[in-house]
């Protein structure tokens, strides 16, 4: 399921992109699985199809989706590898960003650690289910 909030400050395109990434990461969508067409998803969500098309294009550029003529949109069978040095570096940079935001918001590091552990546990449970 993909949920978007029209009143959120996060652009719709970004919400769709994050939603699909999360669904793939959770394993709800596996390699080769078909996604709804741009017009179908736009119709279901009641938004412009260009917004969905932009989100799909970004995900294709990231290597998560494959767009084949006549085949529709599918989850890439050879997605980005999680073992490379560049992936580790990218995740480390994102964690630093989160920690900076927590520090600036006044959230102590142990609290952040708790949140992170809780989130990892939740994901693990969902993937197992």
């Amino acid at each position: 399921m993909l949920t978007v909030d029209l009143e959120s400050s996060i652009p719709l395109e970004e919400q769709i992109r994050r939603g699909i990434r999360e669904t793939i990461a959770r394993g709800e969508l596996g390699p080769g699985d078909s996604l709804p067409s741009v017009r179908q998803l736009a119709g279901d969500l009641g938004i412009h199809f260009n917004t969905v098309a932009r989100a799909y294009r970004k995900l294709r550029d990231e290597g998560l989706l494959q767009v084949g003529r006549g085949k529709g949109v599918t989850v890439a069978t050879d997605g980005p590898s999680g073992e490379g040095e560049s992936t580790r570096g990218r995740i480390q940079a994102k964690l630093r960003e989160i920690l900076t935001e927590a520090r600036l918001s006044g959230l102590p590091f142990p609290e952040v650690k708790k949140l992170l552990t809780k989130e990892i546990d939740r994901w693990a449970k969902e993937i197992q289910a």
Binding site: M1, V4, D5, E28, Q40, D44, L45, G46
Partner: protein, 301 residues
């Protein structure tokens, strides 16, 4: 009274009887609803019910007239009468397209009514399924192979039997067969377009919560029921019409007697009519249940 007229009247009675079944069911189900929900549902379905009454009435009257004229023509031994061809034109050229247009109007009207099946989702938080809806997923694989296979087979048989007719007096049967064949192929096409349109139609997901989830599940079940039901019913109708075309060509060849053809046609038609009415009744009941469920969710929220 001649046996053929009695047969026609019995057939008419069966069809009229089964056409009225959904109406009785709807009235009974309506009485069981709570007053506040009943009024809301009543407002939503009243115009569609009027159309259903009108369509059934018109079809019934047309069918009765046709049956009487047809029986008289057969009694008079006027087999070459233009009536045989015109009855097909009237029923399959006018009644089917009329019903189809009516169904489309019904669907559009139901969707545009607030609280029934909105095409555009409302509210700031919107949810959509990431599962691709496709005809391939909703129908069994063999049925997708059956369509083109049946069409090719029927066309080849039809052409072969048509070109091998030698009798000069078989012209009317060939014309009849040609019309039946045309109707069969049109039915196949309508089915394909209808199923595709229904499968790929935008479907707004209802509110979250247990009632909303139940409604979503019911909506999906109803959609699948309609898609599969209409597909198989139309397929059966097309097979029947193509089969009738083949039988008529065999009559033209002098292999099958016209009497057998009449009985096969009458009982085959009545059988499919019965199945259609059964499907219509079930679809109406499910649709009614869905509408009352939605009305309940709307009233609660």
């Amino acid at each position: 009274m001649s046996p053929i007229l009695i047969h026609s009247m019995i057939q008419f009675g069966i069809l009229l009887g089964v056409s009225l079944v959904p109406v009785f069911y709807l009235s009974r189900a309506r009485r069981n609803l709570k007053r506040e929900v009943r009024d809301e549902v009543e407002q939503c379905i009243a115009p569609d019910r009027t159309r259903l009454f009108l369509a059934t009435g018109l079809a019934g009257v047309a069918f009765l007239v046709w049956m009487i004229l047809d029986a008289e023509a057969i009694q008079a031994g006027d087999r070459k009468s233009i009536l045989n061809a015109s009855q097909l034109l009237v029923f399959h050229g006018i009644w089917w397209p009329f019903s189809f247009v009516l169904i489309r109007k019904h669907e559009r009207a139901s969707r545009s009514k607030k609280g029934i099946e909105p095409v555009t989702p409302t509210g700031s938080v919107r949810t959509a399924s990431l599962t691709r809806r496709s005809v391939a997923k909703d129908l069994p694989g063999w049925s997708r192979v059956l369509f083109p296979l049946l069409a090719v087979l029927a066309l080849s048989l039809f052409i072969w039997r048509m070109v091998t007719v030698t009798s000069e007096t078989a012209g009317n049967w060939v014309l009849n067969a040609f019309l039946f064949e045309g109707c069969g192929l049109v039915t196949l096409l309508i089915s394909m377009f209808w199923v595709r349109r229904e499968v790929l139609a935008p479907q707004a997901l209802p509110e979250s919560g247990p009632a909303g989830e139940e409604l979503a599940r019911e909506m999906e079940r109803h959609r699948l029921f309609r898609v599969r039901g209409v597909y198989f019913l139309q397929l059966l109708m097309a097979i029947f019409l193509l089969g009738m075309a083949a039988v008529q060509l065999e009559v033209a060849h002098g292999i099958i007697s016209p009497k057998i053809m009449t009985w096969v046609g009458s009982f085959g038609g009545a059988g499919i009519g019965l199945l259609g009415a059964g499907f219509g009744t079930l679809a109406s009941l499910r649709s009614f249940r869905l509408q009352s469920l939605r009305a309940r969710v709307t009233t609660n929220s």
